[in-house]
Subunit: 210 residues, 2 copies
């Protein structure tokens, strides 16, 4: 088994934090995103989508998505449970992860991909033909982000962690989105005390540095 | 327990197909999207996000996401398994569902929300302040869609169903995306024989009419 990893980028970080929380270690190959190694022939022969992370299983199957990689390990190692235990917990974690992706992470990606001059022509992540940046989509991302933070603040006003009393995959997804927002130069989540408390607690866990 | 459902829209349809495949029935309330009932005070008091479907549990918790609702039932009723059995199946279904969402369904939504004149000012699903349509984003959706279909064709060239030998939640997600593409007036998936075979088989299941 081999994990294709990359420094700095948000999706590989999600997997690293997850593995650290589970106490698991996996053989890793680091792909150099600054040198566009993810779009080079060698990596595209492994993952034609040109995205990182990807997990190559011993039978040759490739899992090319961060959350799916974590689910794979969750089925092999149930404790500590990071995707929930009861049906309601499982559903709450899944629903909040999808909201984080669609409203929070998507907002950051909209800004990052469409407003970073170095990414001209690369409006989508991975291997695509030329995809023009859309300035209005960066604007839409800036509109979405504070609304997402309000939602996150409301969740965290009701529980210690994003999806309940226990730290879960939803915390990992939210932490990565909030930290990635800095790279997109979105305004920080000031004036939201529940987020401030939670962000300090999540960042203080050793996994956050993985 | 009560399911807030709606005719015609893709996300509620996912839940209906899932429930039909599982042989489950749930009390339903139908929200009239054509009358904007999802944005009226009565429904917003139940689901402030203004989206459908949503599942209200007996203890008052609301699950406001289609896939999370299905996962809730999956944990209560394991057979037939629609989210996979082995770790590799679970991961493959999850990865393909996320690709369907991010590359396929997102392409359709980009076109539908940004090119439908009746949706002017409503560029995002649910309760938002005015969100201008972005014509260039509809264009990007038209660029993404055939690439997604190529990917779906490749998956279906290798197995009977989207994520393996068994019908799964990934088939439900893909069927709903492909059928929703008609509403966005995207070109049909012609010249792709594996999709044609699969689409006929998935559409012939009684669940497709749920």
């Amino acid at each position: 088994m081999k994990l294709y990893d990359a420094a700095w980028a948000p999706s590989p970080r999600k997997v690293r934090i997850y593995l650290a929380e589970k106490g698991l270690s996996v053989d890793r190959v680091t792909i150099d995103l600054r040198a566009d190694e993810q779009l080079g022939a060698t990596y595209l022969a492994i993952n034609p989508g040109g995205t990182v992370p990807a997990l190559l299983l011993d039978d040759g199957e490739l899992i090319d998505d961060s959350v799916a990689i974590c689910l794979y390990f969750e089925r092999l190692h149930s404790e500590p449970a990071l995707f929930g235990r009861t049906p309601a917990e499982v559903a709450r974690i899944a629903a909040r992860m999808r909201a984080i992706d669609e409203q929070g992470y998507a907002a950051v990606v909209n800004v990052f991909r469409n407003a970073t001059p170095q990414l001209a022509g690369r409006g989508l992540t991975g291997k695509w033909p030329d995809v023009p940046q859309i300035a209005a989509l960066a604007e839409r991302g800036r509109l979405m982000w504070p609304r997402f933070l309000d939602r996150l603040e409301a969740w965290l006003g009701g529980s210690a962690w994003v999806a309940g009393d226990d730290y879960s995959m939803a915390d990992i997804a939210a932490l990565v989105a909030v930290d990635f927002a800095k790279a997109a130069r979105l305004p920080p989540a000031t004036g939201r005390p529940a987020i401030a408390r939670w962000h300090a607690a999540a960042s203080a866990r050793p996994s956050a540095a993985a």
